[in-house]
């Protein structure tokens, strides 16, 4: 546990040194600026999208950038010959990625309260963001490990967003009928979107929310176990 905690501290320190955490904070502040020009109702409507963008797309993007920087440095190689397991290294990286998502959600929720006096179920929000965050961290790792460099990862991310996020946006615009939402839950983006929208609006469909949570957790577990873990060492060695 002490080693895991040290790994996580190291990840967070490097998030700051590599300017990834500051960039994430600046992005969150930009969203806050946007809230100043919106009515409370508009702000409440846009908040799920703001959080989703940070939890899904930004997390994947930042995790990918971080991974490719460290791979380029060769630092992952030397971490693999430390007395820690690959599982601990991945857990620390996933935890650092979740910190980014939680930090963004917390700032957004705080801004919603300070600017418009709107309150949410904060505990549930953080729980849902954590679940969505871990799911997307796993997806981020899969994309990072299957791309040569950061540019090629951006290509993969665009493909992912097109296939999985676009339908969710179309649904939110009413272009896809509500009866298909269960099917849409197969998209990790939509599962995350459903959870975050539920908690921001305070309208829950318990069965669907539970299914979305379970799906994201199982997806994260499966991806880490069968796609990320086996590939991580080999990927680092290829340098």
């Amino acid at each position: 546990m002490a080693k895991l905690s040290r790994l996580i501290k190291g990840e967070l320190k490097r998030l700051v040194k590599y300017k990834i955490l500051p960039v994430s904070l600046v992005t969150a502040v930009l969203w806050i600026g946007l809230f100043l020009f919106l009515s409370p109702q508009e702000a409440q409507r846009i908040t799920p999208l703001v959080i989703l963008v940070d939890v899904a797309a930004m997390s994947i993007l930042l995790l990918g950038a971080f991974h490719h920087l460290e791979k380029q440095d060769g630092a992952i190689r030397t971490m693999l010959v430390m007395p820690v397991t690959v599982g601990q290294i991945l857990t620390a990286k996933a935890a650092a990625s979740m910190v980014l998502a939680l930090e963004s959600a917390a700032i957004t929720a705080a801004a919603l309260y300070v600017i418009h006096g709107l309150t949410l179920n904060y505990a549930l929000l953080l729980f849902f963001v954590a679940v969505a965050g871990i799911g997307h961290a796993a997806i981020g790792f899969v994309l990072a490990l299957n791309s040569r460099d950061f540019s090629s990862m951006l290509g993969l991310l665009m493909g992912y967003l097109f296939v999985f996020t676009l339908p969710s946006i179309l649904f939110s615009l009413g272009a896809i009928a509500e009866k298909y939402e269960w099917l849409l839950l197969l998209s990790p983006s939509h599962a995350a979107s459903h959870l975050i929208t539920s908690v921001v609006r305070g309208e829950f469909r318990v069965g669907m929310a539970a299914a979305a949570c379970l799906y994201l957790a199982v997806l994260a577990g499966a991806l880490f176990r069968f796609a990320v873990h086996p590939q991580f060492k080999d990927n680092a060695m290829r340098g």
């Binding site: 490097r14 920087l69 190689r77 030397t78 430390m82 060492k233 060695m237």
Partner: protein, 293 residues
């Protein structure tokens, strides 16, 4: 002397390859020795080392580390070994000291970071980001990283590659001291100077097979010519003569030459490790001196 590593019939094939990279090699590394694995690029040296440090899995054959099956060893194995990579392996946005302190924090026993960095001449640059280091400084920092946990067994890959002679000497002295204090070293290199100065035994790897394992001395005897070459001046003219080494003390012609001629040099037919490398591997060193497999 205990056997640190016992490797038997090791075979390995990369998933994307159609042929084995390592084709059934066997060797022992004895505790307290510097064992050099030499060979041309692509011969399988680095692959062998990666398998031995558990960075590559899926090999055939058996590897034992101090009598224990390598596959059964968990992450605690890394408490005992130090690994010096050829390529830089540090967080470039962190300072050298931040890097060393981060890595040192994971080990139960650690060396004195200041002492190590002072020895390799990096202490005064400890607050400089590694990204701003020169290639030679990164190589020296790699060595410090490998020594951080006071390892029982040290793996070094091209440890002096890219260093100037003065810094290469410092690193080689530190390796020799480490060995003298009971440490064991597995060294992969193409620099024959390092081999001559450091290795107790060497193995030559060619196309995934070991073709020679011996001490540098025995190899020199085996591949050298048993002869003595004398260069001398007679009546102001430079000349040379070669005599068989066997029975040289009773060779009258040789003795007469020593007494009558102005001898300038006397050389035995001992060959260099570089020549042995070329003979054994069939590969010229110059052509691949800047790369390792």
């Amino acid at each position: 002397m205990e056997t640190a590593f016992r490797v038997r019939d090791l075979r390995f094939r990369y998933p994307t390859s159609s042929a084995d990279t390592i084709k059934g090699i066997s060797f022992d590394v004895r505790e307290g020795e510097v064992f050099g694995l030499l060979g041309p690029s692509g011969a399988g040296k680095s692959t062998t080392q990666k398998i031995m440090v558990k960075l590559l899995e899926g090999y055939e054959g058996s590897i034992q580390y101090f009598g224990r099956d390598l596959g059964s060893l968990g992450s605690a194995f890394y408490e005992e070994i130090g690994v010096g990579f050829e390529v830089p392996v540090h967080f470039t946005k962190l300072t050298a000291l931040e890097n060393m302190e981060f890595f040192a924090g994971f080990y139960q026993k650690t060396a004195d970071i200041q002492e190590l960095m002072e020895r390799v001449g990096l202490w005064e640059y400890r607050q400089v980001k590694v990204g701003e280091y020169s290639k030679g400084m990164k190589v020296r920092l790699n060595f410090v990283r490998a020594m951080l946990n006071r390892p029982r067994f040290l793996f070094l890959d091209e440890v002096t590659n890219g260093l100037d002679p003065k810094n290469a000497r410092v690193i080689k002295d530190m390796i020799a001291e480490y060995r003298d204090q009971g440490g064991t070293v597995f060294l992969t290199t193409h620099l024959m100077n390092d081999v001559e100065q450091l290795c107790d035994r060497v193995a030559f790897c060619v196309d995934g097979r070991l073709v020679e394992i011996s001490t540098p001395r025995d190899l020199k005897l085996k591949y050298g010519r048993r002869e003595v070459k004398v260069e001398y001046r007679k009546n102001g003219v430079l000349a040379s003569a070669v005599f068989p080494l066997d029975g040289i003390g009773f060779n009258e012609e040789f003795q007469q030459l020593l007494q009558t001629a102005e001898v300038e040099t006397i050389h035995s037919g001992e060959t260099s490790m570089e020549e042995i490398f070329i003979i054994v591997t069939g590969v010229e060193l110059d052509g691949q001196a800047e790369q390792a497999d």
